[in-house]
Amino acid sequence: MKNLLKKFFDDTKPLFTGDGKYKKYEPVWDATKTFFFLPSEKVRAMPFVRDHLDLKRYMSVVILALLPVTFFGIYNTGYQASIGAGESWSTLTCFLVGARYVLPLIIVSYAVGFAWEFLFAVIRGHKISEGLLVTGLLFPLTLPPTIPLWQVALGISFGVVIGKEVFGGTGRNILNPALTGRAFLFFSYPVSMSGDVWVAGKQLVDGVTGATALSVTGAGSQSITAALGDAGYSLGQLFTGFVPGSVGETSALCCLIGAAILMVTRIANYRIIVGGIAGLVITSLIVQLIPGGQDSWSDAGPLYHLCAGGFLFGISFMATDPVSAPGTNPGRWIFGLAIGFFTVIIRVGNPAFMEGVMLAILFMNVFAPLLDHLVLKYKSSKRIPNV
């Protein structure tokens, strides 16, 4: 297998490099080759030893951290469909039905995303960066399973092109590309992104609302937690994730597993995740202390805010995107805290946008360079000048 592949790349090399016939498509050839074979050039400049971590490994760890969320998302999509159909399916059936809805989203996202990447790489003549490996999986996980595939294609196109490539590609983007794509769909096609879209293959069965927990409000004097319980969103269910929602966001548990993998391997910066959770907890406690609003999310308390909606997914996988987050440690704390804060504020103060975390992260992405700038100014002032 290895020798065959090696032979294939050795044989095709003259076509794609130097004065080869398909020289223009060298980035595509190169990306395929380096996917199979880790490049191992000799170091020519000091230092002469280098760490083994490279961007491919970096992104692969993120993919690894996303696997629990992805597999649970596939299963849960099938499980919700079974409830929607009013039937009781086996685990395998749920998984297969889920895969039938979710896999096309992932495949379309990767295919269209890579098509754009290839196009830009060929035109610009640079190598294909690994960023899309993560973006291409993150993006479909933020979508409802019922979304039309053409919208997935449109969303990932917007995310990759406007969110990333116009700035110069991976490493130079201001906003998180996956969230940019989602925000584009959210505002352009609200019908596919909100309301009664969260359960795939739903037939009209009484008692199945198909709305997410965040859109629940208490009626009259009923408290929000009681209303959530009535609607089938107990804290335990929100934590394990057997509720309707975007494919990847429902399970707080799986998100926490992913966050743990990212923090232990130090691929994601723990300051953002810890800061974000702290910001959310503190803000939701303060909001809870304000009198009134027993029937709305302002009175839900930190645990419900944490487990419902996409907060944990966003803070673990989206906010920790190093490119669009601040590059300084104090900046990362502030960034995380502010995301937690804005998530609660948007959820409580603006019921039109129930899912606050997407806007909170994009909003803070814009401020990340400013945070860095302030931190750098402060740090410079603390150094003994050396000019």
Binding site: T34, N329, I384
Partner: protein
């Protein structure tokens, strides 16, 4: 004795520690005076091919200051003058004669050094080709004799993890060390003598008089003992930015030169190679690589410091500032699906390979392990920088031509240890970018 605290740096275990015995190497057929490892030099050659030179005779000077002289490490005919790219002088090679004939100077005793006028001391050291052992921060050019440094840092350990141990360099040279310290006291009241923790015991055994003069110990985390890292740790005011530093072997050379009136021709050299523990070697200055390393493993490179040295070609000679040779093998070649392997045998300072779970000696090779990409802001470089720099932000400031910003972020505090490039997952040559910018700024100033 103070302990330097350094939390950042490289503390992987590398199993190439040279043996602590010391062998004496015979005089090789050729010796070289190397110009390739001298920073900022604009050499002016003073000899011709075929000319006979004595040991200690000037071979070339620096056009920027012609009193700085680089002298012959042996006696014999000038065999070849080697030029590099753009006719940069690389080496002057001497075909050695069996007996050394020295350029003789008047010996001075210890009291004489203390009583010597500063100017006379400077000119003697310059004539002897040893003044350039004293380096001046921030760019580490040769020290300006008209400058009174706020502090002189004496570094006992070399640039690499496995540079020669100070006790082996100090053996039989305690008097020369004292003489060297007496020279330094002529230039500054404040001497900081820094020793690695692991070297301290050896120094104590060799002579308590030396051990008593050690002012700081540095932890065994590379590059805690690097002069730039030491300066950053103990620096308290702006005046110290132009401190001087000197390595132990140069200090002893200065002492021996004044005490004997002859150019000291030997130095201790270590060779590290994977899987072996060669002894320390007492070799000549300008020893050819072939005499130090018998057989080279295939597909490997030779450097004079795995993090901050230069590459030595097969016919090269070791330079005045170099005393460590690393043989680094290339990796296993292109691995199938290299990026998803568990990586038990892949040493890393991150935690993204299984190797980070087990504490065992790291096998380092000279491959890049990836391809260059854009900076993704991951802060690995900041996390490892011993001098609290943020190399990625400095790099961006430099790319934007914001030199003032780069300087404010501490560009000139960089000690060129090489760790930022070592750790960068985007394989950006941060050390080279920072180092080039420092050089450009220094030359421009």
């Amino acid at each position: 004795m103070k302990t330097l605290r350094i939390s950042r740096g490289f503390n992987l275990d590398v199993a190439e520690q040279p043996d602590l015995s010391c062998v004496h190497l015979a005089l090789p057929p050729s010796l070289g005076c190397c110009a390739g490892d001298i920073p900022y030099i604009r050499p002016k050659l003073l000899v011709k091919e075929g000319q006979r030179v004595k040991t200690g005779e000037t071979l070339f000077t620096d056009k920027r200051d012609t009193t700085i002289q680089y002298v012959s490490p042996g006696t014999g005919l000038v065999e070849t003058v080697v030029y590099g790219a753009r006719r940069r002088l690389m080496e002057v090679v001497i075909a050695t004669e069996a007996e050394d004939e020295y350029v003789e100077y008047d010996p001075v005793d210890l009291n004489g050094i203390t009583g010597m006028p500063r100017d006379a001391l400077v000119s003697t050291l310059k004539k002897g080709g040893l003044w350039q052992g004293l380096r001046q921060f921030p760019a580490l050019d040769f020290a300006d004799p008209d400058h009174s440094p706020a502090m002189i840092i004496v570094v006992m350990d070399g640039n690499d993890l496995f540079s020669p141990r100070p006790d082996i360099i100090l053996k039989d040279n305690i008097t020369a060390f004292e003489a060297g310290m007496a020279i330094l006291r002529q230039f500054s009241d404040r001497l900081a003598v820094v020793c690695r923790e692991s070297s301290l015991e050896g120094v104590r055994t060799i002579g308590s008089s030396v051990a008593d003069q050690i002012t700081h110990t540095a932890p065994d985390i590379y590059p805690a003992w690097n002069p730039g890292a030491v300066l950053y740790q103990i620096k308290q005011e702006v005046a110290e930015n132009t401190a001087w530093c000197v390595h132990l072997d140069h200090l002893i050379m200065m002492g021996r030169f004044l005490l004997s009136g002859r150019y000291p021709v030997d130095k201790i050299v270590t060779v590290t190679r994977p899987g072996e523990h060669p002894p320390h070697m007492r070799a000549r200055q300008g020893m050819p690589l072939s005499a130090l390393v018998e057989k080279m493993p295939e597909n490997s490179i030779v450097t004079t410091g795995r993090f901050n040295g230069r590459v030595l070609e097969e016919d090269a000679h070791i330079g005045f500032f170099e005393n460590t040779i690393n043989i680094i093998e290339a990796g296993p070649g292109e691995e199938l699906f290299g990026f998803v392997r568990p990586g038990l045998d892949k040493p890393t300072v991150s935690s993204s390979f299984l190797s980070s779970l087990f504490k065992r000696p790291a096998k380092m090779d000279c491959t890049l392990h990836g391809e260059a990409r854009a900076c993704i802001n991951c802060s690995y470089c900041e996390r490892i920088c011993p001098n609290d720099l943020m190399p990625s932000f400095i790099m961006k400031a430099l790319h934007a031509d914001e030199l003032e910003d780069a300087l404010a972020l501490g560009l000139m505090d960089c000690c060129r240890c090489g760790l930022c490039s070592f750790t960068c997952p985007s394989k950006i040559e941060l050390t080279r970018i920072l180092s080039d910018a420092m050089d450009a700024y220094y030359k421009d100033k």
